[in-house]
């Protein structure tokens, strides 16, 4: 039997059994009484990995934008029966998502959990990709890309990233462009799969009402011996001043949308530094702009912002950016007011009571994330892919420090790293 450790978080009433099955990291989160169970397989490979080495030290390979997402679609086609159909036959729902640095495949079911989980491991690791199938998929993905282009939130967001980044592939939507997708070949997909869809680069998480030790024994039977090189992702950094300060676009929307973005010159890597960056940024933004802050109240009352306003810090291993924005009738005033607020906060700091309230809110929110098997499994997967142990996030909350958030503000909110994206009604 594979050795395992049990990691418990008593106050949450949660536990995780952690093991490595022939190089595949496995996390099992039992939830007695839960009706739905979830299995998710995450991969450290996403839309930003368009240049990589197939093996450590090997030459750099370049694939078209959108290949990670394309590969995700192709794996869903399955070998004999489409994956959707197979899960539907099992009464389960499945889906997948491609992000900048990761891709994940998951299902939720209320019965036949082990069959569903075995199938997850099987279809993700056994591609059946032919040139004919690749051509057939292009039409479907093109439709999907066009559908996103009709989405105003999507458009204004990627216009912003396109302004903030000149070189980093994060500037492109994970699906790629209609043109880049047309140039994708079956070999591109297989090449990425060979390099990154390797046990050492995956993480398998399950959550539901099961006996974790028994399940672990079952999983051992499904994971074959696999070796071979794992591809090497190439981190990209983009330093210095933002080249495009403003991206303006028009489409049929009811009101203008504005996003202000700040780019960091590089990412924090993975593990603790990543968590630290994410928490410091999140706490800073919420202390300033959260609904209970006086700043929020003042901006809301004066009509600068409304319920559409949001502020978030995105942090990945090799990039980080902060986005603040919403709908407004006065884009110019919106920009000035938000920037003035940030500058003031840099000078005057964050109020202790605001920070403490954000802490309490986060503690409550962290408990809630363990309500469903889906969000439990997703949370564990996200931490594992980011090089963090189970419960790292919830355990860090009580130790978060205001000084760290203030330091984050000073290093992240910088004039030369700012770009603005505006979407006007046509």
């Amino acid at each position: 039997m594979t050795p395992f450790e049990r990691i418990a978080e008593a106050r949450l009433g949660e536990e995780v059994l952690r093991a490595r099955v022939r190089n595949l990291p496995v996390l099992l989160a039992p939830k007695p009484g839960q009706v739905r169970a979830t299995g998710v397989l995450g991969v450290r490979f996403g839309s930003c990995d368009r240049e990589f080495r197939e093996a450590t030290g090997g030459p750099v390979v370049r694939v078209p934008d959108g290949v990670a997402h394309f590969l995700e679609h192709k794996l869903f086609e399955g070998t004999s029966v489409p994956v959707f159909q197979r899960y539907a036959e099992l009464g389960a729902a499945c889906n997948a998502a491609t992000s900048f640095r990761t891709t994940h495949y998951y299902f939720t079911c209320t019965e036949q959990f082990e069959t569903c989980l075995e199938f997850l491991l099987d279809f993700v690791q056994r591609p059946s990709i032919t040139p004919e199938r690749v051509e057939k998929e292009k039409g479907i993905i093109e439709q999907e890309i066009r559908m996103y282009l009709d989405n105003p939130s999507w458009r204004v967001f990627f216009n912003l990233l396109g302004a903030l980044y000149e070189r980093h592939p994060v500037r492109h939507p994970p699906g790629g462009t209609v043109e880049s997708v047309r140039s994708i070949t079956a070999e591109d997909c297989l090449r990425c799969h060979r390099a990154f869809y390797r046990p050492g680069n995956l993480v398998l998480v399950a959550s539901g009402d099961f006996d974790p030790e028994r399940l672990l024994a079952r999983i051992e039977g499904w994971v074959g011996a696999q070796n071979g090189a794992v591809g090497e992702a190439i981190p990209v950094s983009e330093e210095g001043e933002v080249a495009t300060r403003e991206a303006v676009d028009r489409m049929a929307v009811s009101r203008a949308r504005v996003l202000l973005g700040f780019r960091a010159d590089r990412g924090p890597g993975i593990g603790e530094p990543l968590l630290h960056e994410e928490l410091s940024g999140g706490f800073a933004l919420e202390s300033l702009f959260g609904r209970s802050s006086e700043i929020h109240q003042d901006l809301y009352k004066r009509g600068v912002i409304d319920d559409s306003f949001s502020a978030s810090a995105t942090v990945e291993s090799d990039f980080a950016f902060t986005v603040l924005g919403g709908e407004t009738n006065e884009p110019e005033r919106f920009r000035e007011e938000i920037l003035a607020t940030l500058e003031r906060a840099k000078r005057e700091g964050i109020r202790a009571e605001d920070f403490e309230r954000v802490r309490r809110r986060h503690i409550g929110a962290a408990v809630r994330r363990f309500q469903s098997s889906e969000s439990t499994a997703m949370g564990h997967m996200r931490e594992a892919l980011r090089g963090l142990p189970p419960f790292a996030h919830v355990r860090a909350l009580e130790g978060a420090r205001r000084e760290d958030s203030e330091a984050w503000l000073r290093r992240s909110v910088r004039e030369g790293r700012l770009a603005v994206s505006i979407l006007h009604p046509s």
Partner: protein
């Protein structure tokens, strides 16, 4: 899953309690039943205004601080359309005290705060503070205008409005931008008072909460509501039969959105109607469905193709994202699928997959407090409050005959196309 325990706690006030110990938080949703009509905007303004201030917590920041102090208690207030009723609700979700550091009675405090929000809005005389009122009114008008940013939802709503012209259901539960902007401050206050006095009221509590504390909170709500004269909204009038009509509207978009609206003759006394559930699921309830396979996969005529039921109103909608030039072909192919089902052309794989999908959906509700409550509100419409298990049994017992019977009760009423500029109208 156990059932809701229902208990009248006051005149027209029912408590529905479902204790579930494994949930991490307690959800309490207070629901008011109103008739759906052209005054929908007045009621729709109430939830956002209630969240702007109470006598003791007079502004957004103090409300936000109170929620933060309760470890991020989450408030949710909204209106929705359930059959020909407008449902107004205000919910609070409170993390179970045992999962929090320290010893705080967040549950009792949270439920008391919910009552405060419902019953003691900050008023100036018989009006909401003018500035707040105007702002929320404008915000809501913009939210409704923003519906057109979600092309699929917008096409669906336009189809419903054309289809149900002259029926209460034509009213969008938030009203229109015009009726919202025309709503008077005093009328909204009056509407709030009248719903406290006369709207049938239900309080749903789901999660790790004991009977005692729940009854105490419900009793406190009933006492605070005081003397009431309850008015139950009238039952819907069945629409007249007519030949199908077609409408189209133009919008700057890439992909046309097709919505086919059908009337479904509902069967009184058969709340579960398992045949109808099965029929809609085989038709367009997942990747195994006829619409998905025939329209999307086999003919590549649509990016998405699905079916949905507006069950309390007796409507079935088919949705597809298409190339506008292919409208005729897609419509024909969709109708052919309905006809195939009416002829009983259903293979065992489809039937099994549909049964499984329904079972998974219904069972899965058991993990979602808000899902359980919404299900109970939609299916219950007062009095009898079901949990999904009854429908699960009914669907398991139903088969091909019930599907055929349901397919024959379905009649095309309206074809609606939201199309990009240019091309034929």
């Amino acid at each position: 899953m156990a059932s809701f325990e229902s208990l009248p706690v006051g005149e027209g006030v029912l408590l529905h309690h479902l204790p579930v110990d494994r949930f991490k938080s307690v959800t309490c949703r207070v629901v008011f039943h109103l008739p759906l009509n052209a005054r929908a905007a007045e009621a729709a303004l109430i939830p956002p205004l209630l969240r702007r201030g109470t006598r003791r917590h007079p502004d957004l920041a103090s409300i936000g601080r109170r929620l933060d102090d309760l470890y991020g208690a989450a408030l949710d207030g909204d209106v929705s359309r359930v059959g020909e009723r407008q449902i107004l609700d205000l919910a609070i979700d409170i993390v179970a005290p045992r999962h929090l550091p320290g010893r705080v009675d967040v549950l009792a405090e949270g439920l008391a705060f919910q009552r405060e929000l419902l019953l003691e809005p900050r008023l100036e005389g018989d009006r909401f503070p003018a500035e707040i009122y105007e702002q929320e009114r404008e915000n809501l008008a913009r939210v409704v205008e923003g519906l057109l940013d979600d092309r699929i939802a917008y096409a669906t709503e336009r189809c419903l409005a054309r289809m149900c012209e002259g029926e209460p259901y034509e009213n969008y539960p938030y009203g229109t931008p015009e009726t919202i902007r025309a709503a008077r401050n005093e009328s909204v206050v009056a509407r709030h008072r009248s719903l406290l006095r006369s709207a049938p009221t239900e309080m749903f509590v789901v999660g790790p909460a004991g009977r005692g504390e729940v009854e105490e909170a419900a009793g406190a709500l009933a006492r605070a509501l005081g003397e009431r004269r309850v008015e139950v909204p009238a039952a819907p009038v069945p629409p007249t039969v007519r030949p199908p009509r077609r409408f189209s509207e133009e919008m700057a978009l890439d992909q046309a959105k097709l919505v086919l609206g059908f009337r479904v003759a509902t069967r009184p006394g058969l709340a579960e109607d398992p045949g109808l559930t099965l029929f809609a699921t085989i038709l367009g309830g997942g990747p195994f469905s006829k619409l998905f396979r025939k329209v999307r996969e086999e003919r590549s005529l649509a990016y998405y193709a699905s079916a949905s039921l507006e069950r309390p109103k007796g409507l079935l909608l088919l949705h597809a994202g298409i190339d506008a030039a292919k409208e005729g072909a897609v419509t024909e192919l969709c109708l052919a699928q309905v006809e195939a089902l009416a002829r009983g052309e259903i293979d065992d794989t489809e039937l099994d997959a549909a049964r499984r999908a329904i079972r998974a959906r219904l069972k899965g509700l058991g993990d979602s407090p808000s899902g359980l409550i919404s299900y109970a509100v939609e299916r219950g419409l007062l009095g009898r409050v079901p949990v999904p298990a009854a429908e699960e049994e009914a669907v398991a017992a139903a088969g091909r005959d019930e599907v055929v019977e349901a397919a024959r009760r379905v009649r095309l009423d309206t074809v609606f196309l939201l199309r990009p500029p240019g091309g034929a109208a």
